[in-house]
């Protein structure tokens, strides 16, 4: 039996559908990230489950019980909003103890729960401090501890790592997952950061314009995104528009521009279909020299930037547009890859890693937009 079930849930604000016919099932103990750009409806979805806003239509069940119109405090869920409000005049320990107190725990029990949770979020040494004495990242962890201390089986987190510096956030996301798994709670975690979602979630629900575009394991969404938007938003990719010009049992050939075509392994598209061929940036290989075999095209290096473990190279392919290649840095240094802009390079993408999408009804640019 799933812990959380949403059936055709819609929430409108005036004429805007913030959540549009969303159906979702989340199992007990699962860690689910709701991922999407600003304005996608992520927070509204979380607030619907928390009971802080009511569905315009549809049905919400928690633990097999319909809660669509049940008050938040009767839902046995703990909601940690993005704008967490710590009590400024209370110590960190008392702030955290407030979570269980509000849920009817005895004072002593609440303080014990607070101490335990502060240890888990690594803030036990600051228990007697006041909120203003802590950094934004520490305050956010206090809010998290307060949410956890009430021992709800369901934790609803809105951007729980949003106020934390990038490097610490990277560390804390793994800790947050371990923490949740250790406590055995079910978590719904809202984020706009796809790396965060990929590294923390059992499953990711990608939301756009109030609609769930895909719900699956991180590897499913990454390896088989259902639209160009998904491929772009989760992980990033290159996109080239073209027409299917040849269909064989084990290959589909797409003409991109004059004298430039891409071959993918089998695909369901037919001759004459307008499609978008897509391949991942880290699956885009840069070569210094090459003969023009399948899926190898010449281009001009436009720029390189260093991302740490990767070197990001932008290559202009002429009329076909630009592609981005992420080359492992050690590899780039060892192979002495070109690094001067304007240099001629070759780009290769293996046929097994080409994804083919229908050409979007709106323009490709609109489809990819995540602003």
């Amino acid at each position: 039996m799933p812990t959380i079930r949403l059936e055709n849930v819609t929430r409108t604000f005036g004429r805007t559908k913030a959540i549009d016919h969303v159906s979702l099932e989340i199992a007990e103990g699962e860690y689910v990230c709701v991922l999407g750009p600003t304005g996608a409806g992520k927070t509204t979805l979380l607030r619907l489950i928390a009971g802080l806003t009511t569905a315009t239509s549809g049905r919400i069940e928690l633990d097999g019980r319909e809660v669509t119109h049940i008050r938040p405090e009767d839902r046995n869920a703990s909601y940690v909003p993005q704008q967490y409000a710590l009590f400024p005049h209370m110590t960190i320990r008392d702030n955290v103890a407030f979570g269980p107190l509000a849920r009817g725990f005895a004072p002593q029990e609440s303080l014990e729960a607070a101490d335990e949770m502060l240890r888990l979020v690594r803030l036990a040494h600051r228990a007697t401090a006041f909120p203003h004495e802590l950094s934004g990242g520490m305050q956010q962890r206090v809010a998290l501890a307060r949410g956890l201390a009430g021992r709800s089986p369901l934790l609803l987190l809105d951007e729980p790592l949003g106020a934390i510096d990038a490097r610490l956030r990277m560390i804390l996301r793994y800790e947050l997952r371990k923490l949740a798994k250790g406590l055995g709670v079910t978590v719904i975690h809202v984020t706009h950061d796809q790396q965060e979602a990929m590294s923390i979630a059992d499953r990711i629900a990608v939301l756009r314009d109030g609609v769930i575009r895909q719900f699956g394991r991180p590897s499913e969404i990454y390896e088989a995104p259902e639209s160009p938007f998904l491929a772009n938003f989760v992980g990033g990719a290159n996109f080239l528009e073209g027409v299917v010009v040849r269909e064989e049992r084990d290959a589909t050939m797409i003409n991109i521009a004059e004298g430039f075509s891409i071959t993918s392994s089998h695909d369901d598209h037919g001759m004459g279909d307008f499609v978008v061929a897509s391949f991942r940036q880290e699956g885009t290989i840069i070569l210094r020299n090459a003969s023009l075999e399948e899926n190898i095209v010449p281009g001009t290096l436009i720029s390189t930037s260093f991302l740490g473990s990767f070197l990001r190279c932008v290559v202009n392919l002429g009329r076909a547009g630009e592609v981005i290649a992420k080359v492992p840095v050690r590899d780039a240094l060892q192979r002495k890859l070109p690094d001067r802009t304007g240099e001629l390079v070759y780009v290769r993408a293996d046929r097994g890693r080409i994804m083919i999408f229908d050409r979007p009804a709106r323009s490709l640019a609109v489809e990819l937009e995540a602003f």
Partner: protein, 366 residues
């Protein structure tokens, strides 16, 4: 010559040293990012350069002029914050034209000039659009366009992309860099985002607790950081206690729980306790054939992070390490439970002396 020179700058807030004897030289047309954990003083330093905060000691030069005593408006600089402060009652175009107008440029000149800046910034927004009608990304670009339209020589950016979604942020940083390049400005950019800083900067300034820790190109600081703090702050890294087993002209062999590995390192002596750092992508996991004696273990966790595959290995000598391989479609070894060996990419492992103030203080991120 709008290079920037900061000489021995100090600043106290009550009893706390926000900046301690900070010196820095930024060249003409250079793009420099200042990064460090929150509270390290990076924003205070930027505000001192801007003239918004007056330092207690030391001097600041912009070009050849000492500006230490100048108010912000006499420093010929553009300044952009995280919180966009576009004038809400003005159209976006009027916002961008604000600088030229207050400096007495005529209407026609301003109109044309704003058009050019908009084009340069690749901002396609209508003349009658008001700030509240813009998306976060477009609003941030408009704020940048306004800063640039004031024709500063020096651009100061304090978390300019901080209010944006991760995805938009990663796109806009390249636009920002391109724009600054095309106009030929000197820029100083404060951010808490290491990847952002590395991706667009000529050089990085790493700060911690009010002091400059290290300055260098992103590549230098990422691959061969001089300080342990930098190694840990600039990206993920494995931190392993070890001891120097051999030491010979820059070639160091260290021993971690009895297993040896070659490392970079300087000023080390045989028998010394050290800290070994290895970035996850400098560790290669492959199936163990049973003949290997060292650096073998079992895979405990494996995750696809998108562009890379992250593997956590519990080694037979008790250490736990994280390895990361590029997701290039080929099969990457290491399913959970599998016996594997770990190889190190040459130059990847670096050995550091244990800092006198202790490891926790050196590595602290807040």
């Amino acid at each position: 010559m709008p290079g920037v020179r900061v000489v021995g700058v100090g600043k106290k807030f009550k009893d706390v040293d926000a900046l301690r004897d900070v010196s820095l030289e930024i060249r003409d047309k250079e793009y420099v990012s200042i990064i460090g954990p929150s509270g390290c003083g990076k924003s205070t330093l930027l505000k001192c350069i801007a003239g918004i905060i007056r330092q207690d000691s030391g001097q600041i030069f912009i070009g050849d002029r000492e500006v230490s005593a100048f108010p912000p408006e006499d420093r010929q600089l553009g300044y952009m914050f995280q919180e966009i402060a576009l004038f809400p009652h003005m159209t976006s175009w009027d916002n961008v034209g604000y600088g030229p107008r207050v400096r007495g440029k005529n209407k026609e000149h301003t109109r044309q000039f704003v058009g050019q800046v908009m084009e340069l910034a690749r901002l396609k927004i209508g003349r009658d659009t008001y700030p509240h009608e813009l998306s976060g990304g477009a609003g941030q670009k408009t704020a940048l366009a306004r800063a640039i339209a004031a024709e500063p020589q020096l651009l100061l950016l304090d978390e300019p992309l901080g209010a944006l979604d991760a995805h938009v942020r990663a796109v806009l940083r390249y636009e920002l860099r391109r724009l600054v390049n095309q106009i030929g400005l000197t820029a100083i950019h404060v951010t808490h985002d290491q990847e952002e800083a590395m991706a667009i900067s000529d050089r990085l300034v790493i700060m911690k607790a009010g002091q400059v820790v290290e300055v260098g190109t992103p590549l230098e600081l990422y691959l061969s950081p001089k300080r342990l703090f930098t190694a840990n702050f600039l990206g993920e890294t494995n931190i392993i206690p070890a001891i120097v087993a051999e030491c010979d002209h820059g070639h160091v062999t260290v021993s971690a729980n009895g297993w040896n590995v070659q490392a970079q390192g300087s000023g080390l002596v045989k028998g010394q306790n050290v800290v070994l750092t290895v970035r996850p992508e400098s560790m290669i996991v492959s199936p163990s054939n049973g003949d290997d004696r060292q650096w073998i273990g079992a895979v405990r966790e494996r995750m696809l992070l998108g562009d890379c595959i992250r593997t956590e290995v519990e080694l037979d000598n008790g250490l736990r390490v994280i390895a990361q391989a590029t997701n290039q479609g080929v099969e990457v070894a290491g399913n959970v439970g599998e016996r594997v060996k770990v190889d190190f990419i040459e130059g990847g492992p670096i050995a550091y002396q244990i800092p006198t103030h202790g490891l926790d203080v050196e590595l602290a991120l807040e």
